[in-house]
């Protein structure tokens, strides 16, 4: 019997527990020729802001040991253009769409959330309060539990969509931070965003990235990400979405066992455009080999303190709730 990969949690319905990580999959279209979008659990788009953002001065990318630093600076064409051009195309492609939201002020976050609330085909919002590559917004909110609380509360008011809050790893107490955003109304938390990192060009004697530091992602950060997912899944009651360095189905299973209800794949997609689909397949192989019938049975098994939300089977869910734009083939 083919193991069941479908999961439902926090109002999301996904045919596999593997989503794309925001900022690494554009608006889906860029990868359309290279991977079957409708086979992806959910597509999380690049951060969308109220107005267009330019992004940072190049270079924006540098490879490091088993990882990469980026300093994109949330370049994006802004809400209007997203709603007009990017979203309709993506929705028509068949995968549930999660919109990553960024802003300079709580008001901007709220405005974007409000505008997306009615947008057809948006399955959930992900509040990015954890980008290390912009002066305002981003980490400014994300590293201070009280600022994060205020921001999430403002968005919560503005939307009835499932609200995922994306946490930064650059804090002493990620579990405490997670609790506060849940208090403020988050339906789920996702982590980790990138670690603050740096590289210096010894020939020029200058930081490689124009802003000095950037965000580290890729296999290098996986152990850190896994430890944080483990801690958060023992601290909050909502479902957790895990990410950071996932390369293979085995990596994904580690995150599920640590307590994540779903995972996201970022840097790996740059190397293997089909990673979000390949990894789901590898999870299925693992389940089959070990005799598990449903992927949800892995969630939290390696975490003695696990108390986060669990996914349910798609079949168990009221079909009426499946109004979030995902086409399901079961």
């Amino acid at each position: 019997m083919r193991p069941d990969l479908g999961v439902a949690f926090a109002g999301l319905r996904m045919k596999t527990p593997v989503m794309t990580a925001s900022g690494t999959f554009g608006y889906g279209r860029e990868y359309a020729g290279l991977v079957n979008l409708s086979a992806i659990g959910a597509i999380v788009v690049k951060g969308v802001s109220l107005e267009p953002w330019e992004g940072n001065r190049p270079p924006r990318i540098i490879e490091t040991a088993s990882g990469m630093l980026n300093s994109i600076g949330l370049e994006n064409p802004g809400l209007e253009r997203f709603l007009e051009a990017d979203l309709p195309w993506l929705v028509s492609s068949g995968a549930p769409v999660i919109v990553n939201v960024v802003g300079r002020t709580p008001t901007e976050y709220r405005e974007v959330a409000r505008a997306l609330d009615g947008a057809p085909g948006v399955a959930a919002l992900e509040a990015n309060i954890s980008c290390p590559n912009v002066e305002e917004g981003g980490l400014a909110f994300g590293a201070d539990p009280e600022a994060a609380y205020g921001l999430v509360a403002a968005m919560r008011e503005a939307t009835s969509l499932p609200l995922i809050v994306k946490l930064t790893p650059n804090v002493t107490d990620v579990a405490g931070l997670a609790k506060r955003v849940v208090d403020a109304g988050a339906d789920a938390v996702s982590l980790i965003n990138t670690l603050v990192g740096m590289a210096i060009d010894v020939e020029s004697g200058r930081a490689v990235l124009a802003r000095g530091t950037g965000g580290l992602s890729g296999p290098a950060v996986k152990p850190v990400a896994l430890a944080m997912v483990y801690r958060v899944a023992a601290a909050v009651s909502v479902p957790v979405i895990g990410m950071g360095g996932i390369w293979t189905g085995r990596d994904a299973v580690e995150f599920l066992m640590a307590g994540a209800s779903a995972v996201a794949v970022g840097t790996a997609t740059f190397v293997d455009p089909s990673a979000p689909v390949r990894i789901a397949g590898e999870i299925a192989e693992f389940l089959a080999r070990r005799g598990y019938g449903w992927v949800g049975d892995l969630v939290g098994v390696a975490n003695p303190g696990f108390r986060a939300g669990r996914p349910s089977r798609l079949a168990d869910e009221d079909p009426v709730r499946n109004n979030q734009g995902g086409t399901l083939d079961d």
């Binding site: 900022g23 690494t24 999959f25 554009g26 608006y27 279209r29 860029e30 990868y31 359309a32 020729g33 290279l34 690049k46 267009p52 330019e54 992004g55 001065r57 190049p58 270079p59 924006r60 990318i61 540098i62 490879e63 490091t64 040991a65 088993s66 990882g67 990469m68 980026n70 994109i72 370049e75 051009a85 990017d86 890729g218 296999p219 290098a220 840097t267 997609t269 740059f270 190397v271 293997d272 455009p273 089909s274």
Partner: protein, 320 residues
């Protein structure tokens, strides 16, 4: 067009048909001490899906074998490496790359053997070197009517390994019956291996080589000086009416900036292929931004380039 959906992009396994270090040949051999021992490599791949439709200036995104074979850089290469298509043979279904060994990625590629298989994505690059009107990159300075290749004088300016994509360009322009002149600049005698493939090209109207060090058979100096002279002689280019003239260039940024300045001064259209570090190669990550003179200020090398109209690039001081 903005976002491309990359529907036409191929991702697959390409067999290595040829993998060889380019050793200096002829009288230059053995004289390379003056040069910091640069090493160049030619890689042939069986990839009919690419060979049949690659345009000059487009590139492949190549997954390098795991591990720096020199052992210096743990955990690298990780990302793919962009490499221009140097030549393509649609009949044989093969493409060639020509690259300088710089770090772990190119070192790993240089260690491949014929028969090895590489994971390749391509051809990539929404903006190629325009040969006919259809090729015009999406953001190209509007308003100009592209000259017919048959009436065209094309001046190809290549610096160092920047010569790589110009071979395919010269071939395609030659086939389209343009008048093709190649100006090649290299650091030293040992780098002349980069120029050799151009000698084999049929029907070049001219090939001038500059080396930074004084070397027999090449002019001393920078390739930009060659271009300056070429452009100054233009109106009657050695007694022949050149017709419309277009400059195509690829090489280090300071060279491109100078080429751009010279072309603007001469009122000649110029196209430059620029480099930026890449992650996705398909326009998704916004990593390969290049600063332009337009609004919004950044365009993407992988999606909108790598070839841009020279006037579109912001060559400004802050970004060296």
């Amino acid at each position: 067009m903005g976002v491309s959906d990359n529907k036409g992009t191929w991702r697959g396994r390409a067999e290595v048909t040829d993998s060889r270090r380019l050793a200096p040949s002829g009288p230059a051999a053995g004289y390379s001490e003056s040069n910091q021992a640069r090493s160049y490599h030619r890689l042939g791949l069986k990839a009919p899906e690419v060979a049949g439709r690659v345009r000059p200036g487009q590139f492949l995104h190549v997954l390098c074998p795991p591990g720096d074979p020199r052992g210096h850089s743990p955990g690298r290469p990780l990302l793919r490496r962009p490499l221009s298509v140097h030549d393509a043979d649609p009949q044989a279904g093969t493409v060639e790359m020509l690259f300088e060994v710089r770090g772990p990625g190119t070192a790993a590629l240089a260690a491949t053997l014929p028969g090895d298989v590489l994971d390749v994505v391509g051809p990539l690059g929404g903006g190629c070197f325009p040969v006919s009107g259809d090729d015009r990159p999406s953001g190209a300075t509007a308003g100009r009517t592209p000259p017919e290749p048959r009436s065209l004088t094309a001046i190809l300016v290549g610096g160092g390994v920047g010569l790589a994509p110009l071979l395919l360009l010269a071939r395609v322009l030659g086939t389209a019956r343009a008048r093709v002149r190649v100006l090649a600049g290299v650091a030293s005698r040992a780098d002349l291996v980069l120029v050799e493939p151009f000698y084999a090209l049929p029907g070049l109207s001219g090939l001038v080589v500059a080396t930074e060090e004084r070397t027999a058979g090449a002019e001393p100096g920078l390739v930009a000086d060659l271009l300056a002279r070429e452009l100054s002689e233009l109106p009657g280019l050695r007694g022949v009416d050149p017709g419309p003239v277009v400059v195509y260039a690829c090489g280090p940024r300071p060279m491109l900036r100078e080429v751009s300045r010279l072309a603007r001064g001469a009122g000649v259209e110029a196209w430059v292929s620029v480099e930026e570090r890449m992650a996705c190669g398909v326009g998704a990550c916004r990593g390969c931004a290049v600063r332009t003179t337009g609004r919004p200020p950044y365009r993407l090398v992988c999606r909108d380039g790598p070839v841009f109209a020279a006037g579109e690039i912001d060559w400004g001081g802050a970004e060296p």
